[in-house]
Subunit: 185 residues, 2 copies
């Protein structure tokens, strides 16, 4: 399972590609940033973000794209400009029919550090540790993108555990039910 995490921005878009093995082990395949040309207009920047994400999708063929959801409030102008960058990422995913998973900043922090209020340094420290890296991914936007990809891996693992636990309860209930009462599956 290969997951592309993206932290969109009109100046710098971070990306991180993480692989999750059948045993649940995660490893970093690649991370970096797409820097758009300073002083170029927004349309050109959006195109550069789209092309950059396209290249990563071609190179790594992830099965899913994870991005930060539309949750936090900023001023409307900043939010709209950011929406352009995010739109370019979603478009690239949709054109390859890749599902998009969205996580709030608090969900990402909770998944990586165990607290929705973790600092940027705590996130970087845990990303480095979880992926057994010699140093935290640089720059910070790349680390954030890796954190989003990891969040998706852990959300998947949690969902799988919940399903197993559910099946286990159902199985236990079936074992304890008297044979004569059977029939309703």
């Amino acid at each position: 399972m290969i997951v592309l995490g993206v932290d969109p921005g009109t100046a710098t878009t971070g990306y991180g590609v993480v692989a999750r093995g059948r045993d649940g082990a995660v490893s970093l395949l690649e991370c970096g940033v797409i820097r758009t040309t300073p002083r170029s207009d927004l349309a050109r920047r959006v195109a550069e973000i789209y092309e950059g994400i396209e290249e990563v999708l071609t190179r790594r063929t992830p099965e899913i794209v994870a991005v930060e959801g539309i949750f936090y409030s900023r001023n409307a102008r900043t939010a709209m400009v950011l929406g352009h960058a995010r739109g370019a990422v979603l478009l690239a995913a949709a054109q390859r029919e890749l599902p998009v998973a969205e996580y709030s900043p608090a969900e990402v922090k909770h998944a990586i550090v165990g607290s929705g209020r973790a600092t940027k340094e705590q996130i970087q420290f845990m990303v480095q540790r979880l992926l057994r890296l010699k140093a935290p991914p640089q720059p910070a936007d790349a680390a954030d993108a890796v954190a989003i990809a990891l969040c998706h891996c852990y959300a998947l693992a949690a969902a799988r555990l919940a399903t197993l636990a559910q099946n286990d309860r159902v199985g236990a209930a079936a074992r304890h039910r008297p044979a004569a009462a059977g029939g309703a599956a």
Copy 2:
């Protein structure tokens, strides 16, 4: 000169294609709306907007794309969602290396009606009149897109007039300048 005006929205994106002749006369080539699939996710919708604009660009080969600028304030969430739709339009333009012109709602109203505070009905009435149509373009999002395209045509005409007036003043000044004082262009 063919101008594509676009009024982006995640549910409905209006577009209007206007031709401006050498004599300054404007005519409507086509207008309509791109409606995205209800209940589909934002990534899919962004892709539908992009594909719709792509089709119009292929069919009408405009020289420029005019859109509403990022000027007005809404709540941040609405603004960010709208940014996705706008990003899809800008991307389609940038990929064909088409210039993008941006106008504020007040500029559009002022160009079409002569007042920055015109109502939607006044805009529709003037769009119909300026383009000699039997009825105002429908639906309203298409009419808005046509108004943005017309605004660009008139902004161009105004800029040309200003240049002519400027040249005229320069010419008049040159004619009045004593021949002995010449030399500094």
